[in-house]
Structures are given as structure tokens and as C-alpha cells.
Symmetry: C2
Subunit: 192 residues, 2 copies
């Protein structure tokens, strides 16, 4: 990669973080290019699709998430690991507005630049779930797909400004539907 190309690429990424922080996943590509002092066509040659750009923006975070799953699995009980990771993932989805919707879409089509990262996250979650199911602390009639669906659903909800304040509470309610371990259901128990 030529020096000027590399410089443009990183400049675009830097600017993109700001613009996306402000406008979410449907930020204007033109706007990003403009603010980066680069032709729109140049931006699009580095990142042919919107998702390619986000893949670059998110890849380190996503890698960290799948790695976090391993760490948690090794360090505590399976149900606590699942809950912690759940929380971690929901927090991640709050990094940029609209990022959950994009990931859910990418999850469907293998051609998306985000597909691999999504699959990795999906797989990490499925592994944690399986572990908890083995211990009998997560409901058995649930697949990795179900978990991914519920996580993204919750992530989406928390993306809505009006629901964001209840994030943690919503997480607990959903978690109490997934986990069977009483220790994780204290909120539910406390109701009595």
C-alpha cells in the first residue's frame, strides 16, 4: 500500500469515528469523505460498502468480545459468565447508534463485510450457552441463534433513547428467562 493511500485510509477512519458517533450507522459517506478532506470515490475504494467501513471501525472491539467470552468461561461459573458476557455485548452495541441493526442484517448474508465478525460473536455466545446448559443453569430448549436473537433484540431496545435508562433492568428480565439458576434470579425472587 502506497504511503498516501495509507494516510488517506487512516484519516478516513479517524474522521469516521467522530461522524458515526454523532449520526450513527446511517451517517453520510459523503460527509465523512468531505470532513476527511478526501474525494468520495477515494473513501469508497478503501471501503467499498458501508459495512466494510464499520468492519474496520469495530473489528478490534469485536475481537475483544470473543476473547472476553473465553476469559469469562475460564474464570467463573457458566451462568455468571453468560450473564457477564451478555452485559458486555449489550454495552458494546451502544458504541454507535444503529450498530445492532447492522450486525443483525450482516448476520444473515455471508457477503457482508461484517459477516465473519458476527459469526465469531455468535459462536462465542453459543459456546457460553452450551456450557451453561451443560451445568443445567441455562434452559435447555435454546439455541445459539436464540441467544443471538435475544442479545441483539435487547441491544436494539437499548439503542432507543427512551429505553436506554432501563438497560440493566431489561437485561435482568431477559436473563431470568434464559437462566434457571436461582442465584441469578434474585430480582424475580425479591418480588415475593
Amino acid at each position: 500500500m502506497r504511503a498516501d493511500a495509507e494516510k488517506n485510509r487512516s484519516q478516513v477512519l479517524t474522521v469516521a469515528r467522530d461522524v458515526v458517533t454523532e449520526h450513527g450507522t446511517d451517517a453520510s459517506m459523503r460527509d465523512i469523505a468531505r470532513r476527511a478532506g478526501v474525494g468520495l470515490a477515494t473513501l469508497l475504494r478503501h471501503f467499498p460498502t458501508r459495512e466494510a467501513l464499520f468492519e474496520a471501525l469495530l473489528c478490534t472491539n469485536l475481537d475483544a468480545l470473543t476473547q472476553k467470552a473465553d476469559e469469562l468461561e475460564a474464570s467463573t461459573s457458566a451462568d455468571k459468565a453468560l450473564l457477564s458476557w451478555f452485559r458486555e455485548l449489550v454495552a458494546f452495541t451502544q458504541s454507535y447508534r444503529g450498530v445492532v441493526a447492522m450486525m443483525a442484517a450482516a448476520h444473515t448474508n455471508p457477503d457482508s463485510a461484517l459477516y465473519a465478525s458476527c459469526a465469531a460473536v455468535h459462536a462465542a455466545g453459543a459456546r457460553l450457552l452450551l456450557h451453561a446448559q451443560g451445568e443445567g443453569t441455562a434452559r435447555a430448549d435454546m439455541s445459539g441463534d436464540d441467544l443471538f436473537a435475544l442479545i441483539t433484540a435487547l441491544g436494539w431496545a437499548v439503542d432507543q433513547p427512551s429505553f436506554a435508562p432501563r438497560a440493566d433492568h431489561l437485561l435482568h428480565i431477559v436473563a431470568s428467562g434464559i437462566l434457571t439458576n436461582p442465584s441469578s434470579n434474585d430480582a424475580k425472587k425479591a418480588a415475593y
Copy 2:
């Protein structure tokens, strides 16, 4: 309202149903006007915003939903009513792609043409929840907001093509986090 105006209005609505069925909530207004044989400006005078158009498209369904809540509340136990209504609402959100996201957004700002309908649905849900909480069959540490968040979250998930097939199962998992009545948690129990 003049005769030609009324004709245009209903023609737009008829066409809009088709276009929106095909393209979801971000169907092109221009496209709808075009197919309806009407100027774009005309469409926009009848429905000044996208949400105003959807309000007209959805109002009968939404009214039916709030009414359904009353019927269910009168006819069965509170937890069963809540579950049935939950199911009904998730089914509704599948009428057009993107409709949940639009409702969640409308739920936030009172200026939206959909605000009133959303508030009514919200209120109906809150009433059912309160009733179930009174019977001790729904967790007490939950608000109508939480219920609305979970319902829309699930509706959003089911809106994703990859999650749609699991709709009913996902509903049961979330419901088992909301309800405390064992009779509604058979799926969870059956796992043992």
C-alpha cells in the same frame, strides 16, 4: 373534503399498502405517489410525514389491539391474557417490515403522528401487566415501559428474516422472564 381530494387520499392509501408490503417502512414516498398516479406534493399534503401515512395505514389494527387487551383481560386469567396479547402484538409488528422501529421512535416524541396510537398500545399493555402483577403472576419489579420495551424488542427481532422462524420460541423465553406463574413456564420446566 372535496370529492377529488377524497379519491386521491384513498387511492394513495390503497397503493401504499402494496408498496409498503413490498419495501417496508422506508418505501419511497415518491414511488407511492407515482404508482398512485398522483403528484408527490399531493401525497405530502394528505400525509405531511411518513408517520402520518403509517398512522392511517395502521390505525384500525392498532385500535383492534387495544380493544383486544380489554377482551382478554375480561375473559381469562391475567397471566394468560398478558401472554396472548404479547403474542398478538408481536404478530402485528410483522404486518410491515420496520414498523416496530417506527413505533419505538414515535413512542418518544409527542409530535409524531403515531404518538397517540403508541401511547394507547402502551397503556393497554401496562394495564394487563398491572393486573397480572396484582395476581402475583407477573414479576413486580417491572413497569409498563419495560413491557413495551420487551415487546418492541421482540418485534424487532422477529422483523429480522433470520430470526423470524424462531418467533414463537423467543416469545416464550422472554415471557418466562416476565411471568412467574409456573403454568406459563412449561417450556422451561420441560427442560428438566
